[in-house]
């Protein structure tokens, strides 16, 4: 299999590699972690990492890298792990990925690098995500960030939004010598990494460390700036002298189902629920001032089957919910959430009500939620998304008693930047039009990527867009060609 001229540094004979089992990720016991906010996965030890790395078949044409939206050179970094050069492995990852400690934790690896791993034809795929996380955490523990030295180009780039997409653009461009300033609407930098993804899946300390590293590289951050309101794209270019702007404003307005009772007290959007917990620390009320409804001993349900839905309901469980349900209108196979999260959620005792949809929220007559009237579904013919369309089963209605319902059925485009930037093209659904190859918008010197272009997607896809954008911004800044 290894036909490269370079001799493999992996001492394990090729035939033996498939016999090594995939090393399990150490994790907090399910029933313990269901009541705390600590990280679920504990991370590989060096021994586990090296043992796992030995499994790599070192394909001549590795599909893992092709399937990585930012193109991490998996084979090369895994080989460094095999020989114990963990910092060398980190340096290889960092060439393509500015947030390895984040992606090692939140990427849906089964759909990306690990999805086409040759090993998976016979046994379980290589634990690429676990290895990436190990390397990033090791580098952090050692405190030996390598700050690349660069020659300033004299060009200035404004990045709108400090989520995964914007951070990728910023990290890539600052390493090319451009001056980069990131504008963030909230009071804290990190976008969905801080307001959305909970501590038990992505500790905020990890995010802060990655951000500190970016600051060391020279990226500037300005919080409390809502681009479109506080300053417009045109003002950034015309008055503040930015040579290019990248728009990565992320997820938009939360969608609701437009069913009766959705305005009742106790019905949250997932974004609001998670923002209260993660950004505002409402679960520490009254030490923190932002309140949230007390979930202790309550029945809580989330509606939806994505990562956001699972983040929300697993948070509710940790905050003391007595019963925590996922209500999803399709079946297991259609659930868009990351496989590991579904597995973890089941272990923790989340009750999955599949092929079920609420049709109405019921109240106590005083404006407070008491139950969701639900209907069971069956799967019919495939719909536009290619997934089988859920069809309600007549007469299957039942009431699920609930104190809190969290709606996590996706988002629609946030209009603030588009509506204040003349000439910025949008599609039918209001998302910004951008070239899939270059992330260029219809406005000269303005680029866009991530959820504000594609609609709700994943951290790594947003980072992939950021990667492509950084490359084409650099091309534009060096050639001046549009």
């Amino acid at each position: 299999m290894s036909t490269t001229a370079k001799k493999s540094q992996n001492p394990t004979p090729m035939k033996e590699r498939m016999k090594i089992p995939r090393q399990l990720m150490p994790e907090q016991p399910a029933l313990e972690r269901a009541h705390n906010y600590e990280e679920v996965n504990l991370g590989y030890s060096a021994e586990l990492a090296q043992q796992e790395a030995m499994r790599c078949l070192e394909c001549a044409k590795p599909t893992c890298t092709d399937n990585c939206p930012v193109g991490v050179n998996v084979k090369e970094f895994v080989e460094k792990i095999v020989i114990g050069d963990f910092l060398g492995a980190a340096a290889i990852i960092r060439r393509d990925n500015v947030l390895p400690a984040v992606t090692g934790r939140v990427c849906p690896q089964e759909d990306q690098c690990e999805g086409t791993c040759l090993l998976s034809k016979k046994v379980k795929p290589l634990g690429i995500g676990y290895l990436e996380r190990f390397v990033a955490d090791y580098e952090q523990r050692m405190g030996t960030h390598i700050i690349p030295s660069v020659t300033p180009t004299g060009k200035k780039v404004a990045v709108v939004g400090s989520g995964p997409s914007g951070l990728t653009v910023a990290g890539d461009l600052v390493q090319k010598g451009h001056k980069v300033r990131v504008f963030e609407a909230l009071h804290e930098v990190g976008g969905v990494l801080v307001y959305g993804i909970p501590e038990f899946r992505l500790p905020k300390q990890i995010v802060r460390e990655q951000l500190d590293y970016m600051r060391e590289m020279g990226v500037e951050f300005e919080t409390d700036v809502v681009v479109g309101r506080t300053v417009t794209i045109d003002e950034l270019i015309d008055e503040e002298g930015y040579d290019a702007v990248y728009i990565g404003t992320g997820a938009g307005l939360p969608q609701f189902m437009n069913i009766p009772g959705e305005h009742l007290n106790g019905v949250y959007s997932a974004n609001e629920f998670l923002t209260r917990i993660n950004l505002m620390k409402a679960y520490k009320f009254p030490v923190y001032d932002e309140p949230m409804l007390d979930l202790k001993g309550k029945n809580v349900a989330v509606i939806g089957g994505g990562n956001t839905a699972l983040d929300a309901i697993r948070s509710a469980l940790r905050l003391g919910a007595r019963k925590a349900y996922v209500i999803y209108r399709r079946s297991d196979t259609e659930m868009p959430a990351r496989a590991e999260e579904v597995h973890h959620a089941r272990q923790e005792g989340i009750d999955f009500q599949m092929l079920t949809a609420p049709v109405e929220f019921l109240s106590d007559g005083k404006g407070w939620l008491t139950a969701a009237r639900c209907v069971r579904m069956e799967l019919g013919e495939p719909d536009a998304s290619g997934r089988r369309r859920p069809v309600p089963i007549q007469g299957s209605e039942f009431d699920l008693p609930l104190s809190v319902a969290i709606i996590a059925i996706g988002t629609s485009a946030n209009p603030i930047v588009q509506s204040t930037t003349p000439g910025l093209g949008t599609n039918k659904r209001g998302y910004i039009q951008a070239s899939e190859e270059t992330q260029r918008t219809t406005r000269k010197a303005v680029f866009a990527g991530g959820d504000i272009v594609t609609g709700s997607a994943t951290v790594i896809l947003a980072m992939g867009a950021g990667r492509r954008a950084a490359k084409s911004i650099h091309d534009y800044l060096t050639t001046g060609d549009w």
Binding site: A185, L186, H187, Y195, T223, D224, V225, V226, R229, T230, V231, G250, A251, G252, L253, P254, F256, N258, E262, H263, L264, N265, Y268, S269, N271, E272, T275, R276, L279, M280, K281, K284, F285, P286, V287, Y288, D289, E290, P291, M292, L293, G367, N414, P415, I416
Partner: protein, 301 residues
């Protein structure tokens, strides 16, 4: 950090802050607001912009003591700083020459109504302003409102100043007198805005109200500020805060603003007892929400 250049009480419990915020000062338009956070553990609350001075890079905000955060805010003085101030948020008021416009400001809502009245006047409208307050002491911005109005009417609930009664009494008089009214803009407690909406609906007078729901990020991300407009959810921070009063479901607004009442009261009680324990000697004005009692504690919009 955003520095407080100047702070003064406009009325008992109502304070005006001049804050150094050049970006906001440059962009602020009537009808918009800011969200602020005082310190690391603080909540984000929406606050009224009364005016701004782009040349000096300052913005004026007006805050009424109600919950913990606003009480804390109103204990700040010239030279202090606010950790985060973000804005200007929301869509600006739609300013045009409508003809005759009645601008109604109830209580601290007058501070929000003032820049809109001023812009409407500049746009060539005949501006009739009605300002209402509980009592004489709580009438704010009278000279400012007078300066931008063709006529100014003032009411106090207790009759301690100007005419005894409510702003709705004055609006009814105008309507009964046959005054031609092309637009009503009303900013104040929900009951006031609802009463005005009910009155003008019958008369078919286009009416705009500025809504004050619970809000967190203010950029359309969280959906916490959703209001029912014609039976559909809209977001006050992105689609508003101004809405056609005749399409607003005020009952839902009242209900949703009560969502955290217990927590707010607990927060306030703990804050006040801590304050007493600290033997804080400053005058504290214990204004419990406001007299209509339906506005969210701590919400200034």
């Amino acid at each position: 950090m955003f520095k407080i250049i100047h702070a003064e009480f406009l009325a008992p419990g109502i304070k005006r802050f001049v804050i150094e915020a050049p970006r906001i000062a440059k962009k602020q338009k009537p009808g918009q607001f800011v969200i602020l956070r005082i310190y690391e553990e603080g909540e984000r609350i929406p606050v009224t912009i009364e005016n701004s001075d782009p040349a000096h890079g300052t913005v004026n905000i007006v805050v009424q003591s109600a919950g913990k955060t606003t009480q804390l805010l109103n204990s700040l003085n010239t030279g202090d700083s606010i950790l985060d101030v973000v804005g200007p948020l929301g869509k600006p008021s739609e300013i045009a020459n409508y003809g005759t416009v009645v601008v109604v400001g109830g209580g601290v809502g007058t501070a929000m109504a003032y820049p809109t009245a001023s812009a409407l006047k500049k746009a060539g409208n005949r501006v009739i302003s009605i300002v209402g307050a509980r009592n004489k002491e709580l009438v704010i911005l009278e000279p400012e409102m007078r300066a931008v109005s063709d006529a100014l009417m003032i009411t106090t609930d207790d009759g301690s100043y100007a005419d005894k009664g409510f702003v709705t009494d004055k609006l009814r008089q105008l309507i009964q007198n046959g005054t031609r009214i092309d637009l009503v803009v009303a900013v104040g407690p929900i009951v006031m805005m609802r009463a005005i909406a009910d009155m003008t609906r019958k008369e078919n007078i286009h009416t705009v109200v500025s809504l004050n729901p619970i809000m967190i990020d203010g950029t359309g991300m969280c959906g916490g500020c959703r209001v029912m407009i014609d039976g559909k959810s809209e977001f006050a921070c992105v689609d508003g805060p101004e809405f056609d009063a005749h399409r607003v479901d005020f009952a839902v607004l009242v209900q949703r603003n009560s969502m955290y009442r217990d927590a707010e009261q607990r927060s306030l009680a703990e804050f006040q007892s801590a304050k007493v324990a600290a033997e804080h000697t400053d005058h504290v004005c214990a204004v419990p929400g406001n007299h209509q009692g339906d506005r969210r504690q701590g919400d200034q919009r």
